[in-house]
């Protein structure tokens, strides 16, 4: 089966001499929900920008559903929907016009475009705002408007660059369910995000890019299996005033009296509950502490960072 996206030896050197991509190879299969992760300046947006024709590549090959962007650009673009990181619509145009105009650029006549626009504006909760100028929308609505615009021509591959940046938690969750539904219906989705929780919740395959190179490209499952330690938060029926002793486990109480337990790969959680039960401590709920993917991501990127540079200090 043809891959939704294939990238071979992709390089990009900007006019300033900055080498943003140093030979990227990537394959995204049809129907995948794929995350491209990396710190700021790693090359994520440049990679997606080249796929979407917003950035000119220096070398390499890119094909979308088998259509090479050098020889069949128009056909490749027909399969693509793009939700960029920054708002890029005319702030003075009305919501409905923005979506139908985009359909027009794909050669979709107004009548058909209006039907498609209504479908997606309704799905994304923007139908009531269809006659509102885009500048009057909230940040979350603007993000949803860009998703509706990207979908109006029913693309087979949807690219989202930081789709939930600056969006509140409730809205983020509803956008996740919308994207999951789109993916279930067959749309291949590639997303970049800084919320690793988002990638962990949504994506099946993950590539990590850093300093213009892919440092990891694997399934989420395989990636998470590399975690050797996970921290669980246990809420107990009665607040604890001192940390219980658990043989084979490291544990501590946080400021709010929640018990944190470190569990190494291979250790059984049952042992924790058994030991707590023997001490008369009843656990009423449990959750993982940190985002597991986030821990892995930081480890990987830090091990890839040039000497003296830390991810926590950020990059120019």
């Amino acid at each position: 089966m043809t891959n939704a996206l294939e990238i071979e030896g992709l390089t990009k050197t900007y006019g300033s001499g900055f080498e943003a991509l140093k030979g990227i190879d990537l394959k995204v299969t049809q129907g995948d929900f794929f995350a491209l992760l990396g710190p700021n300046g790693a090359g994520k947006s440049t990679t997606l920008g080249i796929v979407c024709s917003l950035v000119t590549k220096s070398a390499g090959k890119v094909s979308v559903f088998g259509y090479d962007i050098d020889t069949h650009l128009s056909a490749a673009k027909m399969h693509l929907g793009v939700v960029p990181q920054e708002f890029n619509f005319n702030q003075f145009e009305k919501v409905f016009d923005i979506v139908t105009i985009q359909a027009g650029y794909y050669g979709i006549p107004l009548k058909k475009a209006a039907v498609s626009a209504e479908k997606y504006l309704k799905k994304l909760g923007l139908w009531d705002k269809r006659n509102t100028p885009a500048r009057m929308l909230s940040g979350g609505m603007k993000r949803r408007l860009m998703i509706a615009r990207a979908l109006v021509h029913e693309p087979k591959l949807l690219i989202l660059d930081e789709p939930t940046a600056g969006v509140d938690i409730e809205l983020r969750r509803s956008m996740w369910s919308f994207l999951e539904e789109m993916n279930r219906q067959g749309t291949t989705i590639i997303l970049t995000t800084h919320y690793l929780e988002e990638a962990e919740a949504l994506c099946r395959n993950i590539a990590i890019i850093d300093h213009g190179r892919i440092v990891r490209n694997t399934s989420k499952r395989e990636l998470l299996q590399q975690l050797s330690l996970e921290t669980f938060l246990l809420d107990t029926e009665v607040s604890l005033d001192k940390t219980p002793e658990l043989e084979g486990f490291t544990c501590r109480l946080d400021d709010e009296g929640v018990l944190e337990v470190d569990v190494h790969k291979g250790q059984a959680l049952n042992d924790v509950f058994m030991q707590l039960g023997q001490q008369g401590i009843k656990v009423i709920s449990m959750r993982t502490k940190a985002n597991r993917l986030e821990e892995l991501f930081i480890r990987m990127v830090e091990s890839n960072a040039p000497e003296g540079e830390s991810i926590t200090e950020g990059r120019a």
């Binding site: 900007y14 920008g49 979407c52 024709s53 917003l54 950035v55 000119t56 650009l73 128009s74 056909a75 673009k77 027909m78 693509l80 793009v82 960029p84 920054e86 708002f87 890029n88 619509f89 005319n90 702030q91 003075f92 016009d97 105009i101 985009q102 027009g104 650029y105 794909y106 050669g107 979709i108 006549p109 615009r149």
Partner: protein
């Protein structure tokens, strides 16, 4: 994209442009109407009555074709340069770049949008001029062809300016320091017969002189230059500027990183 899809994309750009300049009509349609009315009153009526005939016509009749052409030129140019640069500035040009619309359709759409405004203003100014003078058309096809081609030429010019502009100042430099002087010195208000030989020669290097005179020939039947040379020059300029615009688009100048 098949022919029908290409036409849909083209008409989407054109309609978007028309909607834009009609939505902001106090900025786009009203000012040229007011300015041209003032020209008619001050230069045509008040000063013109003391000047007497020019090229065998009263001064008001002589300047009307030039003023119509001036309005068409500046508005065709201004529409494209301001609209496309605003799209670049707001990044909404990316909507077009990610879509499968070919570059020549993008250019054609914007040029047609610019022509719609330029020619619309031309009609408004023509109607206003009827309050001051009678217009008898000497050669209608010449009038129509000249005004259409001139409008197209300056719309293409505006497109190139918008591609090359990196800040708002760049959008106003050409209209202020190139277009306006060339238009004023292009025989809008006088016949170049009035100039000494040397300045007549210099004036012949001004492309706008040919357009104004071609249009004036269509309306009045008089011209400082051969009207067919005018048409030929406009066509050559359109071809050259369109070629440059398409090259810049293909390179992604000012729109792709």
């Amino acid at each position: 994209m098949n022919a029908q899809a290409l036409f849909t994309a083209y008409s989407t750009i054109v309609l978007r442009e028309i909607r834009r300049f009609t939505r902001i009509w106090p900025q786009t349609l009203l000012p040229p109407a007011v300015t041209m009315t003032l020209y008619f009153i001050i230069f045509g009526n008040l000063i013109g009555s003391r000047i007497g005939e020019m090229g065998g016509f009263d001064y008001m009749s002589f300047i009307v074709p030039g003023l119509i052409m001036m309005a068409v030129i500046t508005n065709s140019y201004a529409n494209v340069v301001s609209s496309f640069f605003s799209m670049k500035f707001q990044r909404s040009v990316e909507e077009l770049l990610v879509s499968p619309v070919p570059n020549w359709v993008i250019l054609a759409g914007y040029v047609t949008g610019g022509m719609a405004r330029g020619l619309g203003i031309g009609v408004i100014v023509t109607v206003l001029s009827l309050a001051f003078t009678q217009l008898k058309i000497h050669n209608l096809p010449m009038v129509v062809v000249t005004v259409f081609l001139t409008s197209a030429l300056f719309a293409v010019g505006g497109f190139i300016n918008a591609l090359l502009a990196t800040k708002f100042d760049d959008v106003s430099i050409v209209p202020t320091f190139v277009l306006t002087p060339l238009t004023y010195l292009g025989g809008v208000f006088y016949s170049i017969d009035l100039l000494p030989d040397f300045w007549q020669g210099v004036s012949m290097a001004n492309p706008i002189l040919y357009m104004v005179n071609g249009f004036r020939f269509g309306i009045l039947g008089v011209s400082d230059v051969n009207p067919f040379v005018s048409l030929g020059m406009i066509l050559v300029f359109i071809f050259v500027l369109s070629f440059i615009a398409l090259k810049l688009l293909a390179r992604g100048k000012g729109i792709r990183h």
